[in-house]
């Protein structure tokens, strides 16, 4: 079975300060890991994707994530938050075999204070 745990339901940062959204995963097989973002009343947008090519993955809008197998983590970071980053962020896992369904974490709501 596969699962993801997002360690913080809410994160609040000031504009211009770093962002860290934490995610731990559990998977019996080689996982593919994703971060998606959902702005209010919008669908899901892919931020970045890890598929074993490189452990540090760069995404859109300045976000990046590092895959750490020893810690089973895939934390999302951004050096400097912008007001437009305020949204719900989902860490997602899928297995490298079998059904291709995405398994979502419960989400982290990021607030950016001016």
């Amino acid at each position: 079975a596969q699962s993801v745990t997002q360690l913080d339901s809410h994160v609040s940062v000031s504009e211009g300060t770093p962002v860290l959204l934490r995610c731990n995963y559990s998977s019996s097989y080689s996982p593919s890991l994703f971060w998606y973002v959902q702005h209010p009343n919008k669908g899901l947008q892919l931020l970045l994707k890890y598929t074993s090519a490189a452990t540090l993955v760069k995404g859109i809008n300045g976000f990046e994530a590092e895959f750490k197998k020893s810690e089973t983590s895939f934390h999302l970071t951004k050096p400097s938050a912008h007001m437009s980053d305020a949204a719900e962020y989902f860490c997602v896992v899928t297995m490298d075999t079998g059904r291709r369904a995405l398994t979502f974490g419960s989400g982290t709501r990021l607030q950016v204070q001016p």
Partner: protein
């Protein structure tokens, strides 16, 4: 290129009714997946279809069904609606090009928000 489109955007139904939600994938994508997102939670997998065949099913009752058409568009049907079916229903499409899920990325539509009264 147009992204994934879904219709309708919003829907209000009463308990016991039936609903049909529609999804058109990105051009060239042959796989469609459906997810249910209850308020305050992450999306949960309902179905995946590829080339008109069901390739995966999540832990949902038989009241939920889906199908995929020759043009790769898809419908999600829910019978005997319950209050708990109120949610945002998301459709995602992918190319389903290889044998490994790592070769795929699922792209999501804006969703259909269903309210059951």
């Amino acid at each position: 290129d147009a992204g994934v489109t879904q219709s309708p955007t919003h829907l209000i139904k009463t308990r016991g009714q039936h609903v049909t939600l529609r999804c058109s994938p990105i051009s060239g994508h042959k796989s469609v997946s459906w997810y249910q997102q209850v308020l305050g939670q992450g999306p949960q997998f309902i179905f995946q279809y590829y080339e008109k065949e069901e390739r995966g099913r999540g832990n949902f009752p038989d009241r939920f069904s889906a199908r995929q058409f020759p043009n790769y568009s898809s419908e999600l049907n829910v019978n005997a609606l319950l209050l708990g079916d109120s949610a945002l229903y998301l459709c995602a499409s992918s190319i389903y090009a290889g044998t490994l899920p790592t070769q795929e990325t699922q792209y999501f539509g804006p969703g259909t928000r269903l309210l059951v009264l």
